[in-house]
Structure formats: structure tokens, C-alpha cells
């Protein structure tokens, strides 16, 4: 997908996520900085304590070593958190080749989810139910864009606290991905116009009205799949995407 409108839309979507991503990185970063300082200070103190050699000094040194060990473990968790966010960003910024690739769609879905979650954190509980899938032949970056669109929409449909459920299943020779939110749902008018380019219910500056039409084009035109949804005002919306495991080959 390289039309200027699609690119702009994608940039807007990533921009909206950035604030959450910054938060997601700053928290573990704060921990790592702090731990580094405490560990260096502790190491400075341990040398003289060992030289002193009295039982009290040795006990104190032992305590400092234990503190350093537990902070080292905290650092590891913090680094892993940052790495997960960076991995998600890398996944998003990669460009698809001309030919479809065989990929683990569950993995891609999880990477995208991690990015979107930066925005949901603390507010929305995400449930994942990922079924066993074969490798799917597709343009993974395009599909990531679709997942991100739907996840961001789902997050924005929820005021305050709520729930998003992500589910994947193999159904015959098709992979079925559903993304359900407990948000406000769509009015009948919004449902009728959801895939219309330029139609948005979001405030000016927040929605481009292109997310769903672009998603539909990616799923239906590029992957011979289908995208549809069910929605009830006040009860939430569920999107269903179906992608064939194997793309049809053009006749040899």
C-alpha cells in the first residue's frame, strides 16, 4: 500500500500511538537509570566494608550484594520491556516486498498489539486467544497496518475502562482473526458508512476517515480475503478478518 493517502493515514496512526510509546519506554528507562546509580553506590561501599572485615561490616556488604542482585533482575525485565516496544516499531516500519511471504500471523498480531497496548495501558484489559495457525502467505506489513487500525479504533471506542478480545482460528483453508471491543458501538448510520472513504465519527484532527477503507482494500484486494463487523450501540463492536492461508497463484 503506497498511495499518499494511505501513507499519511499510517503516519497519523503511529503519531497517535507515540505518546503511549514514550511512556512505555520512559518507565523502564527511569528504573534502569536509578538502579544503575544504586548499584554503583553499593559497589563503592562494598570494598571498604570487606576491608573492614568485622561481622557487622560483612553482613552489611552481603545485604548490598543482595540488593544489587535483585536490581540486576529488575533491569533485565526493564530491558525486555523496551526491547518489545522497539520490536513492535521495527515491525511497523518495515516495508513489504513485491511478493507475499509466509509468516506466523499470530506473532505479527502480538507485535502490533504490544504497540497499541502502550496507549491502552491501565485502562483496557486485553484478552488474547490465539489458535494454532499454519504459516500464512501474505503481505505482513499491510496486515499489521490493518491490525493496528482496528486495535486503535477499538481503544478509542472505549471510554474509560473496558475490554478488547483478540482471537485467531484456522477455519478450513482460511485464517479468521477477530478483534472485539466493549466500547460504545456504532450507530446504524455509522455502520452503513463505516467503509466509506472520508467518513469518520472521531473529532477533527483525530480521524482521517481512511482507516477502514484502507483496511478493506488491503484485505479484499491484496489478499482475496474478507472484512466485516457486527456492532451494537452501547455493547461494542467486533471486526472479523478472513485471509486465505495460500494466495491464489496467477496461471503459470
Amino acid at each position: 500500500m503506497s498511495s499518499p493517502a494511505a501513507e499519511l493515514h499510517q503516519m497519523a496512526a503511529v503519531g497517535r500511538l507515540l505518546a503511549g510509546i514514550v511512556h512505555e519506554i520512559n518507565t523502564p528507562l527511569g528504573s534502569i537509570f536509578s538502579n544503575n546509580e544504586v548499584m554503583l553506590r553499593s559497589l563503592d561501599m562494598i570494598g571498604p566494608l570487606l576491608a573492614e572485615g568485622t561481622p557487622e561490616a560483612l553482613a552489611r556488604a552481603g545485604k548490598l550484594v543482595a540488593t544489587c542482585q535483585s536490581l540486576g533482575a529488575v533491569d533485565r525485565i526493564a530491558c525486555e520491556r523496551i526491547r518489545a516496544v522497539i520490536r513492535g516499531l521495527k515491525t511497523l516500519s518495515r516495508v513489504d516486498g513485491a511478493e507475499p511471504r509466509r509468516v506466523d500471523l499470530n506473532l505479527h498480531l502480538m507485535d502490533t498489539l504490544k504497540l497499541a497496548q502502550a496507549e491502552f495501558r491501565g485502562r483496557i484489559a486485553v484478552e488474547t486467544d490465539l489458535g494454532e495457525l499454519p504459516e500464512v502467505e501474505c503481505y505482513p506489513q499491510m496486515l499489521n497496518q490493518v491490525f493496528l487500525n482496528l486495535l486503535v479504533n477499538a481503544g478509542q471506542a472505549i471510554e474509560g475502562e473496558g475490554r478488547i478480545a483478540v482471537r485467531t482460528r484456522l477455519e478450513g483453508d482460511t485464517v479468521h482473526i477477530s478483534i472485539a471491543d466493549s466500547g460504545r458501538g456504532m450507530t446504524p448510520e455509522a455502520q452503513a458508512r463505516a467503509f466509506e472513504p472520508g467518513f469518520t465519527t472521531k473529532p477533527v484532527g483525530e480521524g482521517t476517515g481512511l482507516g477502514l477503507p484502507i483496511s478493506r482494500e488491503i484485505v479484499e484486494e491484496k489478499h482475496c480475503g474478507s472484512i466485516d463487523f457486527e456492532s451494537r450501540p452501547g455493547a461494542g463492536t467486533t471486526f472479523h478478518i478472513r485471509i486465505p492461508v495460500q494466495q491464489k497463484r496467477s496461471a503459470p
Binding site: 511512556h23 528507562l29 527511569g30 528504573s31 537509570f33 536509578s34 546509580e37 544504586v38 540488593t67 475502562e161
Partner: protein, 160 residues
Amino acid sequence: MSPNGAQPSIMIVDDEEMVIASIKAFLQLETEYAVHGFTDPEEAARFAEGQPVDVAVSDYLMPKMNGIQLLARIKEKQPEASRVLLTGHADKQSAIQAINQVSLFQYLEKPWDNEQLLLVIQSGAERARLFRELRTKVEQLDSANSSLKDVQKRLLEAFL
């Protein structure tokens, strides 16, 4: 240690366990404060209802309750406690809201600087102690005043 012998009590509230672990380790190395960490803001609010708190440091984005709501609840029960927001969400809106709604003592951003955090917590604890002392003095003045009035009243009754 404050002069009455009680250790200043510091609350750290963040839904991220790692933040609590880091700040706790730092404060334990550098200070004699009693440090209480909470990942659940509800639990933190209940804690503040039961015992004195000198400084409450809270994250902003948390499940169930955001940092401003939590600090507002702590303010009701512990008006003297110094309230600090420590947030990774560099968002002016929340800063302004916090300062206006809960008369924040300090607003800090993640990643935080330990030296600065220590300075804020030390001055916050000192401020809380002074407020408590002031309240005790005012209460003493009040009671002295009312006993004086009582004496005056009895004097008048005796002589008139």
C-alpha cells in the same frame, strides 16, 4: 528522623513493580525513611486512611484510579502530606490539572533523576513535619486560650 522520633513515612504508588523496586532500593540506601510501595492505588488509598503519611509519590496512568484521583483521596485524609506526581506521560494537561486540583507539591517526569527525587522527598517530608508542628502549636494555643477564658470567667464570677 524527625524530632519526635517518628520515621518519616513515604508512599510510592506505581502500577509498575519495577519502579517501586528501584525507588525503594534507592531510598533505603540513602535515607532512614519508612518506604511503603503499592502497585494498586485502591490499596494505597486505604493505607493512607489508616496511618500518617509524609510524602505520597504517585504515577499518573494506573488502572482503577489515576494519580490525581489518588492524590485527591490522600489529601482528604492526610492534608499535611506532600503530594508528588511522577509521570511518564509528558502531558501538560495532566500537570495543570494536578497542580490545580490537588495542590501538588512537585511534578516529576520519568525517567526521573534520583538526586532530584531525593531532594523533593526530603523537602516534602520537612514540609509535612512543619505543617504537623504548626497544627499542634495552633491546637496548644487554642486550648491555652480556652483555659484562659475559663479562668477569666471564673474570676468574673468570683468577684461579681
